[in-house]
């Protein structure tokens, strides 16, 4: 079977941007087309990953706007909203469009504009994904993280410091990512003394609010070399959902959506967790890096924290996690994040990651919506 190749990729600067969502999407989309030397009117399908442009800025219909701005008129367009996992779900849609034969050239652009809102308002937009019985109590995603973190530390006797080390590591990685929102190291003491946000988690356990966009260009592998000397292939991809109501889960420290989506992706790629050389995980909160690294099968349940303590997930460790700086330091423009994870794997696998380059031929990205409510796991490989 002809595999699906990624022949171009881009991401904008992440951070506090003056541009609005339409402009951010066009910036990343244009750059990905240029990366592969493809014109807008070569596109058969165009997907936009975005959670909430209507809620954030009163702009809907963004795929149509982007098609017009990129000269892709006539292309089939579709918006993909899967909350924080919109980017991963967009990769799934783009992969499907090429794998099915419906499209021979598909552009995926993910983006979000958030920083014009206060933290409180942005938190509320994201919390609107919760069930009414959660929303009425003021439950938020940071709140769910606090609930899971307390349970995890208690259940597995993990020291509070180990969570802080995730933040220190990802900030360190972000220093070498020119697109990252924060390019500044932090020390453990700063993390552990920062203000409490959702006990036991503190400010530095959380990702920031971010504007930004990222894009990927897909075509059949059989024609990839016509466009690009170097490309990567989507060797496995899987999506899964967990409960909508978070408290209905049997184990608050297991992300079943991560477990199930990765099983599908591993099987499709004929790979296992031991084959993965580097991974981009959805560290919206530090605790999520532990949970995903365990539920993806990298480490035993309850031992993800130990791996961080031992430096296994450092850039020079056996399994570098979040070489991009992760959501934690790169930033988290909701719809863009899953696409930007794949962008990082793309540049790493092509050997174009500069100062943050690591060795490897198999990369995995895990993009989480809500609190594991919906997850996409993608495996990218050198051809």
């Amino acid at each position: 079977m002809d595999r699906v190749a990624i022949i171009g990729a881009s991401m904008t600067a992440f951070g506090d941007r003056d541009a609005w969502v339409r402009e951010l999407l066009a910036e990343a989309g244009d750059a990905a087309l240029r990366d592969a030397g493809v014109d807008g009117d070569d596109l058969d399908h165009l997907y936009v990953s975005n959670m909430a442009s209507g809620e954030f800025e009163g702009q809907t219909g963004v795929p149509n706007a982007l098609a017009h701005d990129l000269g892709a008129l006539g292309a089939y367009t579709q918006r993909v909203d899967q909350t924080s996992a919109s980017g991963g779900a967009g990769i799934y849609a783009a992969w499907q469009s090429v794998a099915s034969g419906a499209s021979e050239m598909t552009l995926l652009v993910g983006g979000e504009k958030m920083t014009h809102k206060t933290t409180s308002e942005a938190t509320d937009v994201i919390a609107s994904l919760t069930h009414p019985v959660e929303y009425k109590h003021g439950a938020t995603l940071p709140g769910f993280a606090g609930l899971a973190a307390r349970k995890y530390l208690d259940e597995y006797d993990a020291p509070r410091e180990s969570l802080g080390k995730v933040a220190v590591k990802n900030h360190r990685n972000g220093v070498d990512n020119p697109h990252a929102q924060f390019r500044k190291e932090v020390d453990l003491e700063t993390v552990l003394n920062s203000p409490i946000i959702a006990d036991p988690l503190r400010l530095y356990d959380f990702c920031p609010i971010t504007d930004g966009s990222a894009a990927l260009l897909f075509c059949p592998e059989s024609v990839a070399e016509e466009y690009a000397d170097d490309y990567v292939v989507v060797s496995g991809i899987g999506g899964a959902t967990d409960t909508h109501v978070v408290h209905e889960r049997e184990d608050p420290t297991t992300m079943q959506g991560v477990v199930e989506s990765s099983e599908v992706a591993y099987e499709m790629a004929d790979r296992g967790p031991e084959d993965v050389d580097l991974a981009e995980l959805h560290d919206m909160f530090t605790i999520l890096e532990f949970l995903q690294s365990e539920d993806l099968g990298f480490f035993e349940k309850g031992e993800g924290w130990q791996a961080v303590e031992d430096g296994v997930t450092d850039r020079d460790g056996d399994l570098p996690i979040n070489t991009s700086g992760g959501l934690k330091s790169k930033g988290h423009p909701l719809g863009a994040s899953g696409v930007a994870q794949a962008y990082e794997l793309y540049v790493q696998l092509l050997g174009e990651a500069g100062d943050r380059q690591v060795e490897g031929s198999v990369g995995l990205a895990c993009n989480v919506g809500g609190f594991d409510n919906c997850v996409t796991t993608t495996i990218l490989e050198q051809p």
């Binding site: 409180s120 938190t123 003021g138 349970k151």
Partner: protein, 121 residues
């Protein structure tokens, strides 16, 4: 007023209710009031950065109840975090308005805003 969990013919209990039982797919046909029962704290947090219309700080807990051998859990505000630990016993206390319905992004008429907080026993 009541704090209704929902039960299917196979005895599975959930809070809130669902169109079909998430466990077995059958229709949920009964309700079980949790208001007079005592529950156990599974985990808890204190949120210091809350959305518009939500008290700050906001103490939250996931609480587990046992209904004839079946476990059912609910998330809710705690009346206080003082002395609360994983495993603490709590009981539901009715509250007319858990957050200001007018302040947040959700349409006020689209859902209920009263419910039960958890008070340490």
């Amino acid at each position: 007023m009541s704090f209704d969990a929902h039960r299917c013919p196979n005895g599975h209990v959930t809070y809130p209710g669902h169109t079909r039982c998430p466990e077995c797919g059958e229709e949920q046909t009964e309700t079980v009031d949790l208001a007079e029962r005592t529950g156990t704290v599974v985990t808890w947090t204190t949120s210091q950065a809350t959305p518009p219309g939500v008290r700050e700080p906001n103490h939250l807990a996931i609480v587990e109840f046992s209904v004839e051998g079946e476990s059912v859990r609910a998330l809710g505000q705690l009346t206080t975090a003082n002395g609360v630990e994983i495993g603490s016993e709590v009981e539901p206390v009715y509250e007319e308005e858990l957050r200001d319905p007018e302040a947040g992004i959700r349409e006020p008429d689209s859902q209920e805003w009263d419910g039960y907080r958890f008070e340490p026993v």
